[in-house]
């Protein structure tokens, strides 16, 4: 393969300078003259009927311009990725503590806040469903007309019960995982602006501007062409800015008041209103023969979507798609139920349900290895799906499935794994126990084969000579702008400085799908390559027309004829030359490669694989777990930008370290007990271990420059690697997350 000029190097990010200097304006940093401030009135009850909303007093208050309620929603009073079951403003019923009932727009925030206090809502309190089990009880009140069940999956293969009987070892456990709050440092906020044609423009950080526009069109009863959305940049998202939150209210405010409106949530309001990671309760029964070959895996799982479908059903499905991790189980039995409750709204969160499931399965695998006296890496290598084999769901996956064995092999040969016994003997205080644990994971790229998954890119050569590459996928910190930039430069054979990326704008980029599902690098990257190749073809045709030769080359200066170097047109001239031919821009669409069978879970064809080792200490007096070092081995195809690749691996690891041992979002009676960063503790610089990232680079033939996605995969294996290491250190098996000091002490005392 020819040496790449930009791909695979350590490149300073595209948007780096404006971020380092503080010059980049995030949405809440923008300013629009005459903007009104908005404040939302939210339900204090988990479940209640709204009998009436009295706004007259609020409307009459100084500085108040508008008080809006359900009556003011011109179109459909509902939104949601799966279906419009979440009211913009609740007019009939509230379904969680924080559900919006009214909004005040005033000259300043203080006036808006004062007016909100004067709105009187007549609620009739309903029984609230506060646990998934309660949602399933006979005669339970229905949160939605269709009932309380959002998903019920059942599938099986072979005969698990027979396998359990003949097995040499059977391990059965129940695992629970908590809510997780995204805690992006940028809380939700932005602007709605009225447009002269009666339309509306939004400046709001979000992960898929085109889907938001489609949903808003129904809410506002406005054609999509009258809605413009700017969704870049984001101050972190991690799945938490996937579905809409304030967009409908801002759009409504702008249209009703005819003025720009702003809302920026406080941390407490963000915690209250935004989605959380789905909590799970998983019972797993797993069997192996005496040689460690897996025989059966049975999983029963229950989870809750909270009050609305959102994207929780897809998260739930995806968890079950990953129930077997990368392992081949000849006998399987899966059942899962996801229900509505009146607790916090849940949704997408980096890893999309896979973290919860892999925590369970990888805990099971370690216990089987221990029962058989087998090495934890060897048992995994023995049981992982091999190249050419089908997955346990029966579907075909890409040949890059051999990547998982490469991850395991590289980990087995690493110094950290070889020295594990030495580390353990280094601890001197008798109450400190040191241990080493491992785990693996897989993660599908793309939306899965129940949904169309395509992306379109567009390239326009500007008269300034700048090459403008357009894709909609948002930049939320993951570095997609940099990835797109390097891919475009490498494909066109020009310097990156010549390329400008437009993204996160419905009016200035084609639809390339959501910035989710670890798909941006892969699918938008492929779309850019295909479009760049098409542009090159056009330029070659142009050259041939001008100079009558096929020997045309492209570089940072422009295009030239190879044989007669005097014939040359520069990039500043190319725009005019192409328009003369009627070409203003070039655009191409690509689709995500799909697997061959469809079941209700939506299966994936391409996966990223990761293995990880964790070395930690358990203080048996305080219950505190301290990570000392970790090494992560991602097989995400070829590295596009080394800095971004390492950054995703380190960031994903630390984020999920928080999930595993620190973060605990508690809800009681539908009310968040953890209301801000004072009680919701996320990792700081003082908490992190030494992190080593060792890429296992196989070329992914289908991917852009051999690459695959890595945003989510890097957040998954560390959780079971930590709990497996805690077991290695202190002999306690953590089955309920987080492994907080209290939990660890409790387990130690058992």
């Amino acid at each position: 393969m020819a040496e790449n000029k930009w791909i695979g190097k350590k490149i300073t990010r595209y948007d780096g300078r404006e971020k380092a200097t503080g010059a980049l304006k995030y949405m809440a940093d923008l300013e629009f003259p005459d903007a009104l401030a908005g404040k939302i009135l939210r339900s204090p009850y988990a479940h209640a009927l709204v009998k009436g909303v009295e706004i007259a007093e609020a409307e009459g208050m100084l500085g108040v311009v508008a008080v809006l309620t359900a009556k003011d929603v011109p179109g459909l009073n509902g939104f949601g990725i799966e279906g419009p079951d979440q009211p913009v403003l609740c007019g009939e019923r509230v379904r969680f503590i924080g559900d919006p009932v009214a909004v005040v727009f005033a000259e300043d925030l203080e006036s808006a806040e004062n007016a909100v206090e004067k709105i009187k809502v007549d609620y009739e309190i309903l029984p609230a469903i506060l646990t998934p089990e309660a949602a399933l009880e006979e005669g339970a009140i229905k949160i939605h007309e269709e009932g309380n069940i959002l998903r019920h999956h059942k599938s099986s293969n072979g005969d698990v019960e027979a396998a359990f009987k003949e097995a040499a070892v059977v391990v059965e456990n129940t695992y629970t995982t908590p809510y997780e709050e995204h805690a992006y440092i940028e809380t939700e906020g932005g602007f709605g602006l009225p447009l002269e044609d009666g339309g509306v423009e939004l400046y709001y950080p979000a992960q898929y501007c085109f889907r938001d526009r489609m949903q808003l069109s129904a809410v506002l009863a406005l054609p999509q062409e009258k809605i413009r959305i700017n969704s870049n940049p984001l101050g972190g998202a991690f799945g938490g800015k996937d579905d809409m939150l304030l967009q409908p209210i801002l759009a409504l405010g702008a249209i009703k008041t005819g003025r720009p409106v702003k809302i920026h949530l406080s941390r407490e309001e963000s915690f209250m209103a935004s989605t959380k990671r789905l909590p799970f309760k998983l019972t797993m029964k797993t069997a192996a023969d005496k040689n460690g070959k897996f025989l059966a895996h049975k999983v029963f799982g229950i989870s809750e979507a909270g009050p609305f479908a959102g994207i929780s059903g897809a998260v739930f499905n995806y968890a079950f798609e990953n129930a077997f991790c990368v392992y081949k189980f000849p006998n399987t039995d899966l059942e899962g139920i996801c229900v509505f409750t009146n607790n916090s709204v849940t949704g997408a969160f980096r890893g999309f349900g896979n973290n919860q499931m892999t925590f369970g399965t990888e805990s099971q695998v370690d216990q089987i290895a221990e029962a058989l006296g087998m090495d934890p890496i060897k048992i995994r290598r023995l049981n992982c799906v091999k190249g050419g084999e089908r997955y346990s769901h029966g579907h075909k996956v890409n040949e890059s499935v051999i990547g998982i064995d490469k991850c395991l092999e590289t980990m087995e040969n690493s110094d950290m794994w070889k020295q594990r016994e030495d580390f353990k003997s280094q601890t001197v205080e008798p109450w400190i126990k040191r241990g080493v644990g491992i785990a693996i994971s897989q993660h599908g790229g793309g939306l899965g084969n129940l949904l169309d998954d395509t992306a379109t890119a567009q390239i326009e050569v500007l008269s300034s000579g700048i090459i403008n590459v357009k894709v909609s996928n948002e930049e939320m910190g993951q570095g997609s702008l940099t990835t797109f930039w390097l891919i475009a430069a490498e494909t066109l054979g020009v310097a990156p400085e010549m390329i400008e990326i437009s993204s996160g704008q419905t009016h200035n980029a084609p639809d390339s799908g959501p910035a989710t599902a670890s798909r941006s690098t892969f699918i938008a990257g492929n779309a850019i390559i295909k479009t760049a190749e098409a542009l090159k073809d056009e330029l070659k045709v142009l050259g041939k027309e001008l100079w009558g030769t096929d020997e045309i080359n492209i570089n940072s200066q422009g295009i030239y004829c190879v044989t007669c170097k005097t014939n040359f047109i520069s990039w500043t001239e190319i725009s005019a030359a192409l328009s003369k031919k009627g070409i203003d821009s070039v655009s191409r669409t690509v689709a995500m490669p799909e697997t061959d069978i469809k079941i209700d879970l939506g299966l994936h064809f391409i996966h990223t694989y990761v293995s990880q080792i964790v070395d930690l200490e358990v203080n048996t007096l305080t219950g505190e777990v301290t990570l000392i070092q970790t090494e992560i081995f991602p097989e995400a195809g070829r590295v596009i930008n080394r800095l971004g690749y390492e950054g995703q691996s380190e960031g994903g690891s630390v984020m999920s370290m928080g999930y595993t041992i620190m973060e605990n979002f508690k809800i009681k009676d539908g009310k968040a007990m953890t209301r801000n960063l004072q009680t919701y503790l996320v990792p700081t610089a003082a908490d992190i271990p030494e992190i080593k990232v060792t890429p296992v680079e196989l070329v992914e033939k289908e991917g852009p420059f051999g690459a695959k996605g890595l945003g989510e995969p890097a957040s998954i294996p560390i959780t079971p690697a930590i709990t497996n290491a805690i077991y290695d250190a202190a002999g306690i098996r953590i089955k309920d997350l987080p492994a907080s000091p209290e939990r660890v002490l409790m387990e130690l005392c058992k």
Binding site: K10, T12, R13, D15, G16, R17, K19, A20, T21, G22, A23, L24, K25, Y26, A28, D29, E31, H182, A183, Y184, I185, E186, T187, P233, L234, G235, G236, A237, F238, H264, S266, R267, M476, G477, Q478, G479, L643, G644, E646, G647, E650, G651, G652, S653, V654, M655, N676, L677, Q678, V682, P683, T684, A685, A686, I688, I691
Partner: protein, 156 residues
């Protein structure tokens, strides 16, 4: 009331409402939006600026305490279009992802280096332990701070 202070090297004054915070003064009056509000409770460090040589959470400083002080914000670090050593180090080491924490993070490192040009790794970590970054996992931020220390020492 009117307060007078030095902002990024310039003498300035501003009419203010007594219950404002330094963060509001910077963002709303002076339009310096580099410092962000991530919590408003002193928990996240996104609002960090340097006041009389110390890193402070601008969300916790009432405006009246600003009178007569010297305040330095992220916007004041660049000199003649050239970024500060700390900013350059953050870029070079890949210490920035979404960038929302970056201005505060950079100011925390800068404050440390102003007082202690050759800090230990432990001192570096302590200096940024009040700044939350949800994206990077801190490894590259600590590396960037170390690079900044090396380059500061090399310059002297």
């Amino acid at each position: 009331m009117v307060i007078k202070f030095t902002l990024n090297g310039e003498r300035v004054s501003a009419p203010v409402d007594n219950n404002l915070r330094l963060l509001d003064l910077l963002r709303d009056y002076f339009k310096l939006t580099g410092a962000k509000e991530g919590c408003g409770q002193g928990e996240c460090g996104a609002c960090t600026v340097i006041m009389d040589g110390r890193a402070v959470n601008a969300c916790l400083i009432p405006v009246r305490q600003v009178e007569g002080t010297e305040v330095l914000t992220i916007e004041g670090l660049e000199k003649d279009g050239e970024m500060d050593i700390v900013q350059k180090a953050f870029l070079k080491e890949g210490a920035i992802q979404c960038g929302y924490c970056s201005p505060g993070m950079i100011m925390s490192v800068k404050a440390l280096l102003m007082n202690n040009p050759n800090p230990s790794r432990k001192e570096l970590v302590e200096a940024i332990a009040g700044n939350i970054c949800r994206c990077t996992g801190y490894t590259k931020i600590i590396k960037a701070a170390e690079t900044a220390v090396e380059e500061t020492c090399a310059q002297e």
